[in-house]
């Protein structure tokens, strides 16, 4: 793996973990704060914001390691040549889907720039939407790698 790609993956991994841990601890703090009579107005929104980022970054980490479930039973019945083309087709479609998702997530982020979190006024909802952009872009890169691999086979 090339060096920049390696750095990218480590940053991604670190952020995903940090967001997941933050989300969990914020939910915990929200419960405790409420129990003690000092509810945190922002806890729900901040927890779901960090959750969104953990999901989309974690989605790519899972994809890199082939952790997303697929049904390959039928694929194994095909002759090797056809199997290869099925694979190429599948990853081409996935890449196309992720590219579309990326482009439209940017548009959605732009459209929702006025909308703010209910519990955190002034914090634009666009920051949540951008988690989908980051995640789909990273997954697009991973899917393109898979496509290249399938073509080489």
């Amino acid at each position: 793996m090339s060096r920049p790609a390696n750095v990218l993956q480590r940053v991604e991994e670190f952020l995903a973990k940090a967001f997941l841990l933050a989300s969990t601890l914020i939910v915990f703090a929200g419960g405790v704060g409420r129990f003690l009579g000092h509810p945190l107005d922002w806890s729900i929104d901040l927890a779901t914001f960090t959750f969104a980022w953990a999901v989309f970054l974690g989605g790519d980490l899972a994809l890199r390691e082939n952790r997303h479930v697929a049904v390959e039973n039928l694929l194994h019945l095909l002759p090797p040549g056809a199997r290869r083309w099925a694979r190429v087709g599948v990853w081409l479609l996935v890449a196309l889907f992720l590219a579309l998702f990326f482009v439209y997530s940017l548009q959605a982020a732009y459209q929702t720039r006025f909308r703010s979190f209910q519990g955190i006024p002034g914090f634009s909802y666009a920051w949540v939407t951008l988690s989908a952009s980051a995640g789909s872009l990273l997954m697009l890169l991973t899917a393109l790698g898979r496509l290249r691999q399938a073509l080489k086979e």
């Binding site: 009579g37 509810p39 806890s43 909308r115």
Partner: protein
């Protein structure tokens, strides 16, 4: 040419609003010979309110039942409709709708943000504090954790009235009350039988702190595509159905009050409303809506 609008709301299928929206849809279809259809979706089936509002702004044929707090994100002054003790009767709501200054805000919402208010005379009734101990004065609310919708206008208002607002999604209310994770909620009468709240709450304190006013909105782009006479039919029938539904809710409240008492809840009606009104002033100051409200009161000659 035919037009189809999908209209979304967060309330359940048994809420009087749902029947009201369907009556609106039926009459519009009748008067346009079926050319303008409204399909009504309950329980937020088409998504969360904020998303729908964003989508209808893009010209997608969607409508949404919403409130001043949400529209206040776009035109700040509209937030005043969600202020505590803002209006006192349904008649005042109708009068407000016709004020030129309010019409000006509505036009700004349409021109600048692409959100068209079709009508805003739908009233769900008064919201009251519902708790496990009687509440008569703002002091009685001190230290009570009250579930409040997670918007600043609501939160500030409930804080001003003396309680500690807790932001929780609507669907979590029952279990949070059951587990005593919160001490109460502030809701309208119709919510009690819907969620069997008598299982977990003992008092309805008639604080009447909000008269819950709703706005029916569609996308301005879609609205402008309609022929002028269809736009008029859409508006007229919205106002008519809104008036009927609001009246129906007022009448049903008497029946629900009886039911709620049969199920063991106590209704506290000797609430010191003057003290609560005074406490509410702080909310308007903190939200920067005091001048807006006073100007409206002047226009209403109140």
């Amino acid at each position: 040419q035919t037009y189809t609008l999908r209209f979304n709301h967060v309330l359940g299928p048994n809420h009087p609003y749902h029947a009201g929206f369907q009556a609106w849809a039926e009459r519009v279809a009748q008067r346009t010979g079926g050319d303008l259809r409204i399909l009504v979706f309950h329980s937020s089936q088409l998504g969360i309110e904020e998303d729908i509002i964003e989508q209808l702004r893009q010209g997608i044929p969607l409508g949404q039942n919403t409130d001043g707090a949400r529209l206040g994100n776009y035109v700040k002054e509209l937030g005043v409709f969600n202020g505590p003790y803002f209006v006192e009767s349904y008649e005042e709501v109708e009068k407000l709708a016709s004020l030129p200054v309010v019409q000006g805000w509505v036009e700004r919402l349409a021109k600048q943000y692409g959100i068209r208010v079709v009508c805003f005379n739908w009233v769900q009734g008064y919201r009251h504090f519902m708790t496990n101990k009687p509440v008569r004065r703002p002091e009685d609310l001190r230290g009570l954790r009250i579930r409040t919708p997670p918007a600043p206008v609501w939160q500030e208002s409930v804080r001003a009235l003396g309680a500690t607002p807790v932001a929780l999604p609507f669907g979590e209310i029952y279990s949070a009350l059951q587990q005593r994770a919160i001490d109460g909620a502030e809701l309208v009468y119709a919510n009690i039988p819907d969620m069997s709240l008598w299982e977990v709450l003992r008092y309805v304190n008639e604080t009447k702190h909000f008269l819950l006013i709703n706005f029916q909105v569609v996308g301005e782009a879609w609205y402008q595509r309609l022929p002028a006479n269809y736009r008029q039919i859409l508006r007229e029938e919205c106002v008519r159905a809104g008036r009927e539904t609001s009246m129906r809710i007022q009448q049903e409240e008497a029946r629900i009050k009886q039911l709620v008492q049969q199920r063991g809840m106590t209704i506290v009606s000797d609430v010191d409303l003057a003290a609560f009104r005074k406490a509410a002033e702080t909310a308007y100051e903190r939200l920067g809506l005091k001048a807006v409200r006073d100007a409206l009161y002047q226009a209403l000659r109140k």
